[in-house]
C-alpha cells in the first residue's frame, strides 16, 4: 500500500471543501431537530437513528487523530459483524445500520 497522500495542502483542503461540509453538518443538525419536532417518539428509537447518534462522536474521537480513518470506522460501526450465512432473506433491502446490533 502506498503512503496515504493528497496533493493539496491542509489549508487548500479547508479553502476548497469547507463550505460543502459546513452545509452537510448543518443538514445533520436539521435532520435531528426535525426528528425531535415531529409527532410521536418511535422514530427517536429507530435503530438507524440510534446508530447515527453513535457514529457522530467518531468525528471527534481522539483515536482517529492522525489516523484519518473516521469513514472506515463509521462504516464498520454500521455493519453486520456476524460471519454465518443468514438462514433466509426475508427482505431485499438494507437499512443502513445493523438491526441486530445494540447501538
Amino acid at each position: 500500500m502506498p503512503q496515504p497522500s493528497c496533493p493539496l495542502t491542509s489549508q487548500q483542503v479547508v479553502d476548497i471543501y469547507f463550505m460543502e461540509h459546513r452545509a452537510k453538518l448543518l443538514d445533520v443538525a436539521a435532520f435531528l431537530d426535525r426528528l425531535e419536532r415531529a409527532e410521536g417518539h418511535e422514530g427517536l428509537q429507530d435503530v438507524r437513528v440510534r446508530a447515527l447518534k453513535k457514529a457522530i462522536p467518531l468525528l471527534l474521537d481522539s483515536n482517529c487523530e492522525n489516523h484519518a480513518n473516521r469513514t472506515q470506522r463509521m462504516l464498520e460501526l454500521l455493519s453486520d459483524h456476524t460471519t454465518e450465512p443468514t438462514p433466509a432473506a426475508h427482505t431485499q433491502s438494507a437499512l443502513g445500520a445493523d438491526p441486530n446490533t445494540q447501538y
Binding site: 496533493p7 460471519t83 438462514p87 433466509a88 431485499q92
Partner: protein
C-alpha cells in the same frame, strides 16, 4: 478525455444519456445483468433481458460511437429461490458466445443468505467451466462487510484466480481486504450510498491506483451516468495529473477487461 464506464445499466437509461456520455468522452461501457427494480415472474423475462443486453443495447450504444459489452447472470436479489435461479442459469450458456459478453456478473450476495450463497457458488462454477471473467456485486450498507468477505471466501474456495475477478462497490471498510487478497476493486459513484467522487479519490490516495477503477453504475435509482467524468474533475481539482485519470478510467479497465479476449476499444479495433 476518452474513458470507460465499466459498470452501468443502460437498459434503465435514455438514449440521450448515451449522447451525453459520448460528449463527455465515454468510448466503451460494460453492462452487468442486474435486478430490474422488481422480481421477474418467469425465466422468460430473463431470456428477453439477455437478448436486450446482447443485441439491442450494442446497437443503441453504437449510434454514439460507444462500444457496448455485457455480463450475464441471475442477480442475488432474485436468487433466494434456487429452483427459479437455476432455470435462469440454464439460459446463460446460449448467450455466452455472443461477441459482447465478457463473463458472469454481477453475481454476489444481497442479504448474505444460505440460498444466495448456494446460487453464487453455482454461478462461480459456471464461470469456471467456461473460463470467463467474473464481476461481483457486493451487498448494500450494513450487509456489505460480511457479504464481501463471504463472496471472496467462496471465490477462493472454488479455486478462482482473484486477478480475474472484479469486486465492485468497495468502500473504505472493504477496499483494503479486497486488494490484499489479490482481487480487482471497483468503486461506484452514487449520490446517497456507496462512494461520492470525493471519497473515491480519497480511497485512491490512501490505497493506490493498482487494480482499481471507478464506475457510475447508473440505473433506475438515484445515480448519475456522468459521475465518472465528474470524478475526473475531482482528481484534477486536487492537483492529480492526467496520467492518474487515464490509469483509473482507461488503462486499468483495459487491463482487467482485456483478459476476456473480447474487449477492444473502438479506436483500437
Amino acid at each position: 478525455m476518452a474513458y470507460i464506464d465499466p459498470h452501468i445499466h443502460m437498459v434503465s437509461r435514455t438514449t440521450d444519456d448515451y449522447r451525453r456520455m459520448a460528449q463527455a468522452g465515454c468510448v466503451a461501457i460494460t453492462e452487468p445483468a442486474f435486478w430490474a427494480g422488481f422480481d421477474r415472474s418467469s425465466p422468460a423475462g430473463f431470456y428477453d433481458y439477455f437478448r436486450q443486453l446482447t443485441d439491442v443495447e450494442p446497437k443503441r450504444a453504437a449510434q454514439y460511437g460507444i462500444a457496448h459489452y455485457c455480463w450475464l447472470c441471475i442477480n442475488p436479489k432474485e436468487a433466494e429461490d434456487p429452483a427459479f435461479a437455476r432455470e435462469v442459469m440454464k439460459l446463460i450458456p446460449e448467450f455466452l458466445d455472443k461477441p459482447n459478453v465478457l463473463g458472469i456478473g454481477e453475481i454476489g450476495l444481497n442479504k448474505n443468505s444460505r440460498n444466495e450463497l448456494i446460487i453464487l457458488e453455482e454461478q462461480i462454477e459456471l464461470a469456471k467451466q467456461h473460463d470467463r471473467l467474473i464481476l461481483v456485486h457486493t451487498p448494500h450498507l450494513e450487509d456489505k462487510l460480511k457479504g464481501t468477505r463471504m463472496t471472496m471466501d467462496a471465490l477462493i474456495n472454488a479455486g478462482i484466480d482473484p486477478g480475474r475477478v472484479l469486486i465492485d462497490h468497495v468502500e473504505e471498510h472493504t477496499v483494503a481486504e479486497v486488494l490484499d487478497r489479490g482481487f480487482w476493486a471497483g468503486m461506484t459513484l452514487y449520490p446517497d450510498s456507496k462512494c461520492t467522487p470525493q471519497r473515491a479519490v480519497d480511497i485512491i490516495e490512501c490505497y493506490g491506483n493498482e487494480r482499481i477503477w471507478i464506475n457510475s453504475a447508473g440505473d433506475w435509482g438515484p445515480s448519475d451516468p456522468l459521475s465518472v467524468p465528474k470524478c475526473h474533475v475531482e482528481m484534477r481539482r486536487r492537483g492529480h495529473n492526467q496520467k492518474l485519470v487515464e490509469k483509473i478510467s482507461l488503462k486499468n479497465p483495459l487491463a482487467f477487461l482485456g483478459q476476456s479476449g473480447r474487449f477492444i476499444l473502438p479506436e483500437h479495433s
